[in-house]
Structures are given as C-alpha cells and as structure tokens.
C-alpha cells in the first residue's frame, strides 16, 4: 500500500515486482485453494518427476505444474486431451514471471479417477497377457496347506475359516496378516503372496477381503498386487467380497471367487462328499471283485454241470450196455453159425455117403496108395520094389511091385 501511494515512485527490480505479485497471489484466499476444470495439453513428465502441462478450455489456457510429491499419489496416468478437474493454488513462478496452477490433486472430469486407473491398468496387463486362460494354474484337488493373505481381524478370514473348518478340516491354514485397505495394503498383500512362494509352504493361496467401495477395494486393483499374483507359482484364488465388480486381482488370479466364503468352498473338496466318494469306491471295489469271483464260480459250475462231470459213470454204463448188447449178438451169431454148420455137415454127409468109394470097393475095385499114402492113379512114378497098399472093401493088401508095365496106348 505504501508503495502504491508513494508520490515519488521508486524504481523496482523485476524480482521485486514478481515477488510482490507472488505475495498478492499467495495471500488471496480464492487463488490459494482453487478447483479448475480443463483439458490437458502439452503434457510433459519431466525426468525430475514433476509434471508440466497446459490446462485449456475453448478460449483460454493456463500453465500448470504438478510436483513429484503430489503426482505420485495419482492413480491414473495423465494424457493429452484428458478432461480433468484440478485442485491447487495459483501462484507465480518468479523467474519467468509466469503465473501458473500448482496442482495438488487431479480427478478425471466425468468418470472417477480410480475408474480411469482401473481401466488403464486392466488394459495394460491384458496386453501383457496376464489374464490369459493359458496362464491359469489348476487348483490342487486336495490341498494340504492353504495360505490366506488377508486381514486377520476382518469378516473375510472368519468366513474363510468357518467354511474350511466345516468342509475340509484336513487342510492346514496359514494366515499371512495384511492390511486390506489404505496405502500399505497393496504392498503387504504382494509381500504375503511372495512370502508363500518363497517358503513353498502352501499348495494354494487365497487373497481377498470383504466387500466395500472401490476405494476400499483399491489394494486389489493395484499393479503391485496384480504382479505378485501373476508371478506366483502357487495357484492364487482371489476373493474380494463384491459379487459383481471384478478387481484387477480377479482377472490375474488363477480362479476368481465372488466372495471369501466362495473362495474357501472352491479351494477345498467337501470332506462329506469325499467320504461318500470313498465309500462308493469301496463298494465298487467289493462289487467288482465279487463279480470277478462270481463269474469264475459260474464258469466252474458250468463245467461241473456238464454231463461228464455230473455223472462220470454214465459213459461206463453206456459202454457196458453196448458191450452187453454186442456180447448177446455175438452169442446169437455163433449159435447161428454152429447151427448152420451142423446143417451143412448133415447135407455134406449125405453127399459124401453117395460118393463113398467104399461102395465102389464092394463092387470089386481097389484103391492103390503108395508109401506116402497118395492114391496111385498111374503107373508112371511106380518102380520095381515100391511098396504099395491096395485097399479092398474088407481090408488092405501090402505088396511089393514086381514089374511095371505101362499100357501101350498106341497099340
């Protein structure tokens, strides 16, 4: 005030003017805390980490800066053309005499900042293939140890433990306690998942929390969480308790459960179903075995019931009968043959009688036999001195040949 009302105007340096304007601006209650809507252009992320950009509307523009200390809290990336609402103060950069907006917070105009961040990260990870179905690992059928990365005091762990205890108390549960909301949450969750991978102490990991607003669930939408899940060699089931909304963790996880309870259901088999399965397998075992035995028994019975086994004497009897029959037949045949022979004999005797040489002898003929009892029919072969037997009807005369005189047929 003194300066302005002074009659003899002093000459000021540039610095003094800029410094004065800065003081004015910095003390203005309106400029100190201001919200501006505009579109980003000339965006530059400087290597120092500070962001520089121009905010503009249809007819005007203003320079803006966001220091590293403020922009690290940004949950989405700034891009040219993006419509935003920025909160900050207007001040002057004394060196250039340029006033500008010092931004402390930026929200996307229209949709929420978190929403934008979510979409951006989702697109990025999807492009990297982190959501691919081939990347999904199968869950163990019967996990012996289950790692749970969640708050040890929340509703989620209670739900999970209740279900696991009822459904499959055989599995041991190891809880890695973490904060599930707030600034440290994502890092802690990622550390928990990495811990289980390092120690290899569990067969499957559940990570999640109960439902809440998008801000509450944010740890499960952060890149560090997503990467830890994607890098896990142990299958991870996400269990963020919001049935309808998917978190980034859900997309990266090997299996997404709609709630923590559902995750517990999905991770273990039911001991009751297992017992049923076991007893059904046991009855199948008995049945299959008994059937094998029964089949053999039936085959054996079929053998035993075959005639030769059932009545081994049958064949003997049958053959005996046949034998008897043959025997009888043989006897009959023999008798017949004998009878026949007798008849023929009688007949022949009659014939023989008719042809008997005795009758001829009685009429004066004789039968001459030589020494070998052959009948002599010719003089040839008879020599002097041979003994001959002359048989007559009433006896024999043994005589010695005195002379042989063949009959001369030519005479």
């Amino acid at each position: 005030m003194q300066l302005l009302s002074s009659v003899s105007k002093p000459i000021l340096t540039v610095s003094e003017v800029n410094s004065y304007i800065k003081m004015l601006m910095d003390h203005d209650p309106f400029l100190y805390d201001i919200w501006i809507r505009g579109e980003i252009s000339n965006f530059k992320a400087h290597s120092s980490g500070h962001y520089y950009l121009t905010l503009k509307d249809e007819s005007s523009s203003i320079r803006a800066v966001m220091f590293k200390s403020a922009n690290i809290r940004l949950r989405f990336r700034l891009e040219n053309g993006m419509k935003i609402i920025a909160k900050g103060r207007i001040s002057i950069y004394e060196r250039d005499g340029q006033y500008q907006l010092y931004m402390e917070e930026i929200q996307p105009d229209g949709i929420g900042a978190l929403h934008i961040a979510y979409e951006q990260l989702k697109e990025k990870l999807q492009k990297e293939g982190l959501f691919d179905a081939e990347k999904k690992k199968p869950l163990p059928l019967y996990p012996e140890r289950i790692g749970v990365v969640t708050s040890p005091t929340g509703a989620a762990i209670r739900d999970i433990l209740n279900i696991l205890k009822r459904r499959y108390p055989q599995a041991k549960v190891m809880i890695y306690p973490v904060l599930v909301q707030g600034e440290q949450a994502a890092d802690q969750i990622a550390e928990g998942i990495r811990y289980f991978n390092k120690t290899k102490g569990v067969d499957v990991i559940i990570t999640g929390r109960g439902g809440g607003s998008i801000e509450d669930l944010w740890a499960f939408n952060e890149e560090v969480t997503a990467r830890a899940i994607a890098d896990s060699d142990i299958p991870v089931v996400s269990a963020v308790g919001h049935e309808t909304d998917f978190t980034i963790a859900d997309f990266v996880a090997d299996l997404r459960a709609p709630t923590p309870s559902a995750a517990a259901e999905l991770v273990v088999p039911s001991q009751f179903e297992l017992r049923d399965k076991l007893s059904s397998m046991l009855s199948r075992l008995y049945y299959a075995f008994n059937k094998g035995i029964e089949n053999r028994r039936m085959k054996l019975r079929a053998f035993m019931q075959s005639t030769s086994f059932r009545n081994p004497m049958d064949m003997i009897y049958r053959n005996r009968m046949l034998l008897d029959q043959l025997d009888r037949q043989l006897e009959k045949n023999i008798l017949y043959k004998i009878e026949h022979a007798k008849k023929s004999f009688g007949l022949l005797c009659g014939k023989l009688d008719a042809l008997s040489p005795l009758a001829v002898l009685a009429r004066g003929y004789a039968i001459v036999k030589n020494e070998s009892s052959s009948i002599v029919k010719s003089v040839s072969g008879i020599n002097e001195g041979d003994k001959l037997d002359i048989q007559l009807s009433d006896g024999s005369i043994f005589c010695i040949v005195d002379e042989v005189k063949p009959l001369n047929r030519e005479m």
Partner: protein, 85 residues
C-alpha cells in the same frame, strides 16, 4: 502330513480309483484281482483314516522384533499382535 514313504491323500485316492477301474474292466487273473482287491481295501482304509485323524489347524505368520516371520497358533495369537490390522 506327507512323508516320503506315505502316500498323500491325493495319491491314495488316485491309486484307489485306478484299482477300482482295473477290477471293473476285468480281464485279470485271479491272483491279480486278489492282490488289487487287497490293495484297494488297504488304500480305502488309509484314506478314511486320513480324513478322520486330521484336526483343523490354523496358524498365523507374524513378524517378530527382528523382522523374522514366525508361525503361531492363530487362536492363541495375542490380540495386540493383530491390532495393527
């Protein structure tokens, strides 16, 4: 729970299923069926024993003063250890 000479529940179940399937398929000698059957009964007993004998165990991993992770029984863990969560 699972040492080298003892089958895991999963292995035992799988073996039992294989045995049942083999027996159901038939085409075995009597000796083979008897051996499989005996093995199956043994495995089934093992499995149900495994289902019966296990108690529900829950532990929590807590960092001690030196930042080392130690395992404690969850139900017995002191409340103040969980306060920060």
């Amino acid at each position: 729970m699972n040492n080298d000479n003892k089958l895991s529940f999963e292995q035992a179940m799988k073996e039992l299923e294989d045995i049942v399937r083999k027996l159901e398929d038939g085409e075995l000698t009597l000796e083979e069926s008897i051996n499989l059957f005996q093995n199956g009964v043994k495995l089934s007993n093992q499995c149900s024993k495994m289902l019966d004998e296990v108690e529900h165990k829950v532990s929590i991993l807590i960092k001690d003063k030196n930042g080392e992770v130690v395992e404690r029984d969850f139900d017995a863990a002191p409340k103040e250890d969980l306060d920060e969560f």
